[in-house]
């Protein structure tokens, strides 16, 4: 029940928690809400914090639950795409016979800080352009590293839906990265 603790959390970990949340929720507003809910929950649960984990790890654990709550709420509001729009986008990548419509270009290997910074921006932009549910599933899997089984359960979607969404998201992300200058210039 120490007032100082909670305010140290905000000062010390607020930005970090916000960035983690922002990356998964793709919205400043939702990320701010998640940080607030996390700190309030942490305050209420303070007595249970044993100090085994660092405060940041402990808070991040709480944040993960809050993020999943947020995503679950959003998913309830958005119909899971059965096929239609997403499938059309996939169609455009392949020929009728199932071969690639265009050859894939190899990726560059960013080394300098500037190149890496550029890459982070492109990654964020591409992820932001994913359709809502696809973005959530993709983030939970590739950014948060959750298992698909866990994601299906949390979001209440079938494994098949989950795989379809991940497949589309990955096809889209790959193409988006290639189109936004991540492909090695001039390479075959």
């Amino acid at each position: 029940m120490d007032t100082r603790d909670a305010h140290t959390w905000l000062a010390d970990h607020g930005d970090y928690l916000f960035r983690v949340a922002r990356r998964q929720l793709h919205s400043d507003e939702l990320a701010e809400d998640a940080v607030q809910e996390t700190l309030l929950a942490a305050l209420a649960a303070q007595a249970r914090y044993t100090g085994d984990a660092s405060p940041r790890t402990w808070l991040t654990g709480i944040l993960k639950h809050k993020i999943v709550d947020q995503i679950r709420r959003q998913v309830r509001e958005v119909e899971i795409p059965r096929d239609a729009d997403g499938e059309e986008a996939v169609d455009s990548l392949f020929k009728q016979d199932g071969h690639w419509a265009e050859p894939l270009r190899p990726w560059g290997n960013p080394q300098t800080e500037a190149e890496l910074g550029q890459l982070r921006r492109v990654l964020d932009e591409c992820a932001d352009r994913l359709k809502p549910v696809m973005a959530q599933v993709f983030s939970l899997r590739e950014v948060a590293g959750m298992e698909t089984e866990e994601i299906c359960k949390e979001l209440d979607i079938t494994p098949t839906n989950c795989w379809v969404l991940l497949h589309r998201a990955r096809l889209f992300m790959r193409q988006c990265l290639e189109l936004n200058g991540f492909a090695k210039a001039g390479a075959a």
Partner: protein, 85 residues
């Protein structure tokens, strides 16, 4: 019997293989296709690379912006309220 998946089907298998262990028959089909198809082999490598980039990027928490001052104030005041101070 269809033993060789198309590129399109292969990308679905490659994607799913990122998430769980495929049944043996699917694993064989995937491996066979990847062995002879340059584009799909590249796709498969890029999926791994993408995962690496995302996980690495999440760990590197420098570049991106933090909480806006306005949001920080709001959260601080919510915490205050909760503490009854």
């Amino acid at each position: 019997m269809k033993w060789m998946p198309t590129c399109r089907e292969t990308t679905a298998l490659a994607s799913r293989a990122m998430d769980e262990r495929l049944p043996l028959s699917s694993r064989m089909a995937l491996r066979l296709h990847l062995a002879i198809c340059e584009n799909c082999a590249r796709f498969n490598r890029q999926l791994q690379e993408m995962r690496h980039l995302f996980r690495e990027e999440t760990a590197a928490d420098d570049a991106a912006a933090g909480l806006a001052p306005e949001a920080r104030r709001r959260i601080a005041s919510e915490l205050h309220k909760k503490l009854g101070s």
